[in-house]
């Protein structure tokens, strides 16, 4: 027991698989979370992110593979033996204990001296110090969430797991808590692993984001990387929005691939394509597309389109346009001028983008989210 609790270092998940009777939740997953970083596991429901989290906590055991912290192999050990704590999605505060006793629970089990004092400090950290004598049922959702965090933090675990902790909060509170969590993590310096299906949340808070789908990691990296250069169609569609279209590589031009996308020839830098020959999926982010009435000059890629819908969003205007292949693209233009381009459904327009903004991912059956 002592051996596990003293584990220190990076979290390593090595080729972990978790199978249940009728399906595989996690499929040969491997990743390393550096000590002290804020890591996000992002993906839709059922992708296996919560199962992965539970395996790190010890609440589930992997069918195959190992989980280590530093050099200590935690596989097979029980949750109470690991230096890992969880903030549960439903908070799971003990209803029969006061807030303070809830937070002091971990220290007391570990026979730490002055557990009440530690509890109070942890509560102060989440700004709940004044409510220590209340019971969970007397608190609001946001307050309970903070208590759940304090209860985990007070133990200064090597790894702190957060299972969609902000899911039940309203938007404003959620934004607040995102900033709070990031601040606390920086202050306390623990490794945080945050599981969520909200890609905005993951990108705001995490140093590294791993996008999971069907039990596997599709892409992992800094938020900007994932957004700027998705490597699979799923990531392109799950993280932010993308305009996609099937294409075929027809040749090369220096550093770029020449691709035929539904009759239009476009150029994509080789470094921004996951595929070098054959079929692929072409993609461009909506805000990277420029819309104009006249054919633009320049070395950008362009294509003719018809406006289907115009929506004023305050900060930007969103256009839905139909491109020659029949697909519908979304275009965001920031409203920099007080009098924007006056476009209506039915207008013929030209779309333009810089080749360096486009990307290409493998052609797949399903395009994700």
């Amino acid at each position: 027991m002592g051996g596990f609790r003293e584990a220190q270092g990076d979290l390593k998940i090595e080729s972990v698989t978790k199978s249940f009777a009728d399906f595989t939740a996690v499929d040969d997953l491997s990743l390393v979370v550096p000590r002290g970083s804020f890591f996000a596991l992002l993906g839709p429901s059922g992708c296996g992110k919560t199962t992965t989290l539970r395996m790190v906590a010890g609440l589930e055991q992997p069918t195959l593979g190992r989980i280590l912290i530093g050099d200590t192999d935690l596989t097979g050990s029980r949750p109470y033996e690991r230096p890992v704590n969880t903030v549960f999605q439903s908070y799971a505060l003990f209803p029969h204990l006061t807030i303070r006793d809830n937070v002091a629970f971990g220290p007391k089990r570990r026979k730490v001296a002055d557990s009440d004092k530690l509890a109070n400090e942890a509560l102060e950290l989440v700004q709940m110090g004044h409510l220590g004598s209340r019971k969970p049922v007397q608190l609001s959702g946001g307050q309970q969430q903070r208590v759940a965090l304090a209860r985990a933090l007070v133990n200064r675990p090597e790894v702190l797991l957060l299972d969609e902790p902000l899911g039940a909060l309203d938007l404003k509170l959620r934004r607040q808590m995102q900033v709070e969590l990031k601040r606390i993590q920086t202050e306390v310096g623990l490794t945080f692993i945050h599981v969520t299906h909200d890609q905005e949340e993951a990108m705001t808070m995490a140093d590294t984001v791993a996008v999971m789908n069907h039990g596997r990691i599709e892409q992992m990296g800094a938020p900007e990387e994932l957004y700027d250069l998705p490597r699979t169609a799923f990531v392109a569609n799950f993280v932010g929005q993308s305009n996609m279209g099937p294409g075929e590589v027809t040749g090369t031009d220096g550093d770029a691939l020449v691709v035929d996308v539904a009759g239009t020839t476009v150029k994509i830098p080789k470094s921004r394509s996951a595929v070098t020959e054959g079929a692929l999926q072409f993609g461009i982010r909506p805000e990277k597309v420029k819309i104009s009435r006249t054919r633009p000059e320049g070395i950008g890629n362009d294509v003719k389109a018809t406006v289907l819908d115009v929506s004023f969003l305050g900060v930007a205007t969103q256009y839905l346009v139909q491109v020659p292949s029949g697909a519908v693209w979304t275009v965001y233009e920031q409203n920099l001028d007080v009098e924007p381009i006056d476009l209506h459904p039915g207008n013929e327009v030209w779309l333009m983008w810089k080749p360096g903004h486009a990307f290409a991912v493998p052609a797949e059956e399903e395009a994700g989210a």
Binding site: A57, G58, L59, R78, P79, Y80, V84, N85, T86, F88, S90, A92, L93, F94, P95, H96, F105, G106, R109, R110, K135, V137, Q138, R151, A152, N155
Partner: protein, 297 residues
């Protein structure tokens, strides 16, 4: 429950202009009755429920000479039964017996039943369904069959080992039928326990034993207490099964029944009503306590 009709007193009436529109009083009465039909029947039923209690109470003041069946028109209501509740022979002895049996049966049945509930909810084993059925069947069996069967086995079987009908046979019988009720009550509570709470405890360094004592049992306690209270009241008030297996021992209900022919002493009324008041006070007190500890916000 009829649909509510509002009596619109504004607007144009049959007379035109600003005459208020009113329904005839007959129609209004019918609407009121229809709206309140359910409420009135409910109150009537509640009164009906309390009628015998009232009679028990009233007759505890009866200044009777021979038997407490009819109100003595000549005597004036008296407090003498209240002042001497143990005055009639056998009343208090039977009460004490009832309380002792109920306490003992509750203790044993609650422990056995809680253990069984844990086994049936938390563990998978062959015969689990059979176990659940076995627990349920005594509750569905008429008391007379339970009493009769126990009587036959006590007389024809256990008498070989020297067991006589009396205090202990009553206790044994009461434990038997209380176990089922305890299992069902505790099981319901156990099943509704959020499994995340025990996971959280484990996540926070509580081993299996700590989790049980610090989290599971405290959360289960209201259910266990409820089961114990249920057990106690079932045992205390039991008559039919007790009658079959008690031999010459008297519990309070049996005493009342047996003394029926000769005339039930009013002291029994006194005690009966006192038990009622105590029980109600306990229940109301318990409710107030739980609602006080849970301020609404």
């Amino acid at each position: 429950m009829a649909s509510t009709t509002s009596t619109d007193t504004r607007g144009t009436g049959p007379g035109g202009g600003s005459e208020p529109f009113r329904l005839s009083s007959g129609k209004r009465a019918r609407i009121w009755i229809a709206d309140h039909f359910a409420m009135m029947s409910a109150i009537a039923v509640l009164l009906y429920l309390f009628l015998p209690v009232a009679y028990t109470f009233i007759f505890s003041f009866n200044n009777y000479r021979k038997s407490n069946i009819t109100w003595n028109p000549e005597g004036s209501p008296t407090l003498k039964h209240w002042q001497d509740p143990c005055g009639a022979p056998g009343v208090c002895e039977s009460l004490v017996t009832s309380i002792q049996i109920a306490a003992g049966a509750t203790l044993v049945a609650t422990i056995l039943g809680t253990l069984m509930a844990f086994a049936l909810v938390r563990y998978r084993f062959r015969g689990r369904t059979a176990g659940n059925v076995l627990v349920f069947v005594p509750m569905a069996t008429p008391e007379i069959v339970l009493g009769a069967s126990l009587l036959t086995i006590f007389v024809q079987g256990f008498s070989q080992v020297g067991l006589k009908l009396g205090f202990w046979t009553i206790m044994i019988a009461h434990i038997m039928f209380c176990i089922s009720f305890v299992v069902v009550t505790v099981r319901a509570r156990l099943q509704s326990l959020d499994p995340r709470l025990e996971e959280a405890a484990q996540d926070l360094y509580a081993g299996p034993s700590s989790t049980l004592w610090k989290v599971t049992l405290p959360l289960l306690l209201p259910g266990i207490i409820g089961a114990a209270m249920l057990s106690f009241s079932l045992s205390f008030d039991d008559f039919i099964i007790t009658n079959f297996v008690s031999g010459s021992e008297n519990t309070f209900p049996k005493f009342v029944y047996v003394s029926y022919r000769r005339g039930i002493p009013a002291q029994a009324n006194v005690i009966g009503f006192a038990m009622f008041v105590i029980a109600v006070a306990l229940v109301v007190g318990g409710q107030l306590l739980t609602s006080l500890r849970r301020p609404k916000d």
